[in-house]
């Protein structure tokens, strides 16, 4: 049903010739997209080739990830996280000018789809057991009104 995409590299070119022209601008946007979509990592920094990446706003990141950090921990972790980011930042040294961006990092070739056939999970009891707070038939959670 789905094609086993051609094995030539870059694979995407063979699979999607028709969309090449129109998605070019889309994909150059992708290239300029920073590693995280956090507004603190400016697009300019990522796209301008080699150069330092902006330090992440740790309190903001922690809030987004719902991880509570004390100010002391934040101070302590910030340089360590910066080190990790910088380590990946070595990739900035690569010259990407003439390379088409990948859709995603993928080496798997061939269909990874599943037939639309029902297989009810047999051990529902174990799932219910594992719930921290269950009042039949619902999972009980603290009252949350919006996602902020």
């Amino acid at each position: 049903m789905f094609s086993a995409a051609a094995s030539a590299i870059p694979r995407l070119r063979c699979a999607a010739p028709a969309r090449y022209a129109s998605s070019r601008t889309q994909w150059s946007l992708l290239r300029r997209r920073p590693l995280s979509s956090s507004p603190n990592v400016t697009p300019a920094a990522a796209a301008s080739g080699p150069g330092p990446l902006e330090p992440p706003d740790l309190p903001r990141l922690a809030k987004s990830a719902r991880i509570s950090l004390s100010p002391q921990e934040a101070e302590e972790f910030a340089p360590k996280i910066q080190q990790v980011v910088d380590w990946f930042g070595q990739l900035q040294a690569v010259d990407l000018e003439s390379i088409e961006p990948s859709l995603r990092a993928d080496t798997a070739v061939g269909s990874s789809l599943r037939e639309d056939k029902a297989e009810p999970f047999a051990n529902r009891d174990a799932i219910i057991e594992a719930l921290p707070s269950y009042v039949d038939p619902y999972i009980k959670v603290p009252r949350v009104l919006n996602s902020e």
Partner: protein, 546 residues
């Protein structure tokens, strides 16, 4: 129902257009948006009076006071696949809470999503039906936020490379709202998964979560901001529903939540190219509510503009309250949500071949728009066209009836009139009718060749729908063949006149209305079988002659 409106007092149309917003008794379009065969009865007028349409149009323009509205709609369609999008759990609406779940859709650590092939097939079907450009490769992304009904803490969706973009949808506005053809753009179509259900308890500081629905596949259809009125928006929603049902990818039921519409509304002075501030409206549970909510919001915004308070219009989400017929502010969010989209690492690209897409394209059924154009070319009125094409089952029945040789207009009248009325009363849908298209065409032919009268046909129609059988056998069984022999009718007329000397005398004296009485008596004597046309002719002659 709406027809009597059009034929009735002209002022009624004006009343509707002007008072539409503020009057909670505003007449809503007939229930064409529901699954059952419902809708207008009786034969349709040849054309809707254009003067009424013109009056309604002028009234609507006046109401807008020099502004135009810009409306866009995001529709979420739940796909009726057997299993969920990324795991093999079955899904049935109304199942006992937390029964159709597994570790994958509950987001347990270590689980991995596996894409359901049927979801891609449905997505391509809808995208082709919406005339979109299909992305031969697309990917999934994680949309991350925390909420109790989102087990993984992210929703698997498609962010920057959706499966389809840049399409359009064609539709016809209902005749009773002025009619007209419209084409609205579709920005994109993408695949994603649904969240579970969150119920807030009345009292107490807790809520309840049911994850049956978590992981159910959705198609998100985003329209271009092309709609300008509430009715255009409602009809767009209805056409999406029609398409979804025609294609068999979902049941498009707003009440059940398998079709959800979020609407964005802004206004701007006519001629201005920049858009005004847009406001999102949620919580509309039917197409009628969509129409009314939008009309209310438009007038609210115009009013603020007129009061020089345009800065009071802020980008926010408002909820429609059906009871008070108003929109209300939801709690304002602080800042824009940061979903931290990144490509879903656990899912491969979705790669399509042109053979695959062509195969699906060739398997598409005749879509509503094509049906409407075909019916229009048969010479049917727009009212008929819209009704017949609304439900695929009705259209199929109609087409089958025509295949057996019936006349299009007559078949349309019978289906839209008596048949629909009966089915509605008995709460049946058209494929539960035991009357087959063949027999309907037989019945129409029998009337045409004079075997039975129209009146008799109406009676046997009900029996045929309920019990089935053939027209021939019912006619024979009940001895319903029309009496068309002038001699036989003449004899019956003579007898009736002889049996009713007093009335005959009154007729001679000038009470000519009694002809109807005599006709009724002859009909009674003939058990309803006398040909009405012939009867009145002979009766008239005899009454004059004597």
């Amino acid at each position: 129902m709406a027809l009597t409106l059009l034929r009735g007092i002209r002022t009624q149309a004006l009343f509707r257009a002007n008072a539409g917003l503020f009057c909670s008794t505003r007449l809503s379009p007939p229930a064409r948006f529901t699954t059952r065969v419902e809708g207008v009865q009786t034969t349709s007028p040849k054309t809707a009076p254009t003067s009424i349409q013109q009056a309604a149009k002028e009234a609507a323009e006046q109401k807008m006071q020099g502004f135009e509205a810009v409306i866009g709609i995001e529709t979420h369609v739940q796909l009726s696949t057997v299993t969920k999008a990324f795991c093999s759990c079955p899904y049935d609406y109304g199942s006992h809470p937390n029964s159709t779940v597994c570790p994958t859709c509950m987001g347990h650590p270590g689980t991995l999503p596996v894409l359901n092939a049927k979801v891609v097939e449905c997505a391509v079907k809808v995208a082709l039906a919406l005339n979109c450009q299909i992305s031969m490769t697309s990917k999934f992304d994680r949309k991350q936020y925390f909420y109790p009904d989102l087990p993984k803490g992210y929703q698997i969706s498609q962010f920057d490379i959706p499966i389809a973009e840049k399409g359009y949808i064609d539709l016809d506005l209902p005749v009773e709202f002025g009619g007209g053809h419209r084409r609205f753009g579709v920005t994109r179509v993408h695949m994603e998964e649904d969240a579970g259900k969150l119920l807030h308890s009345e009292s107490g500081n807790y809520s309840q979560v049911d994850l049956n629905r978590a992981g159910v596949p959705l198609l998100e259809i985003v329209s271009e901001p092309d709609m300008r009125t509430g009715i255009e928006a409602a009809e767009y929603g209805a056409e999406v529903q029609r398409l979804v049902r025609y294609l068999g990818v979902g049941n498009g039921n707003m009440q059940e939540g398998s079709l959800r519409c979020d609407v964005n509304v802004s206004v701007r002075p006519i001629g201005q190219s920049e858009f005004g501030t847009k406001v999102e409206i949620k919580n509309m549970n039917s197409f009628n509510e969509i129409s009314r909510a939008i009309d209310y919001e438009i007038s609210r915004q115009i009013h603020l503009h007129k009061e020089s308070q345009a800065d009071q219009i802020v980008q926010e989400t408002r909820l429609w309250d059906e009871a008070s017929q108003k929109t209300f502010t939801m709690r304002k969010k602080e800042g824009l949500a940061d979903y931290r989209y990144f490509p879903e690492p656990d899912l491969a690209e979705v790669v399509l071949t042109s053979e695959y897409v062509d195969e699906i394209r060739n398997s598409l059924p005749e879509l509503p728009e094509a049906k409407r154009r075909r019916y229009e070319n048969m010479g049917l009125s727009m009212q008929d066209v819209i009704f017949l094409a609304n439900d695929d089952n009705v259209a199929h029945f109609f087409d089958s009836t025509l295949e057996h040789g019936a006349d299009a207009k007559l078949a349309a009248n019978w289906i839209m009139g008596d048949m629909t009325a009966y089915l509605k009363d008995e709460k049946l849908s058209i494929h539960e009718s035991k009357l087959t298209p063949l027999e309907l065409s037989e019945m129409i032919a029998s009337i045409k060749n004079g075997t039975i009268s129209g009146k008799i046909a109406k009676e046997i129609l009900v029996e045929l729908i309920a019990k089935g059988g053939t027209v021939k056998s019912v006619i024979e069984e009940k001895d319903l063949i029309q009496i068309a022999d002038p001699g036989a009718i003449g004899a019956m007329v003579d007898k009736v006149l002889a049996d009713n000397p007093k009335q005959l005398e009154q007729y001679r004296a000038g009470k000519t209305k009694l002809q109807g009485y005599f006709a009724g008596q002859v009909m009674k004597a003939s058990k309803g079988k006398a040909s009405p046309v012939l009867l009145n002719k002979i009766l008239g002659e005899k009454l004059k002659g004597n």
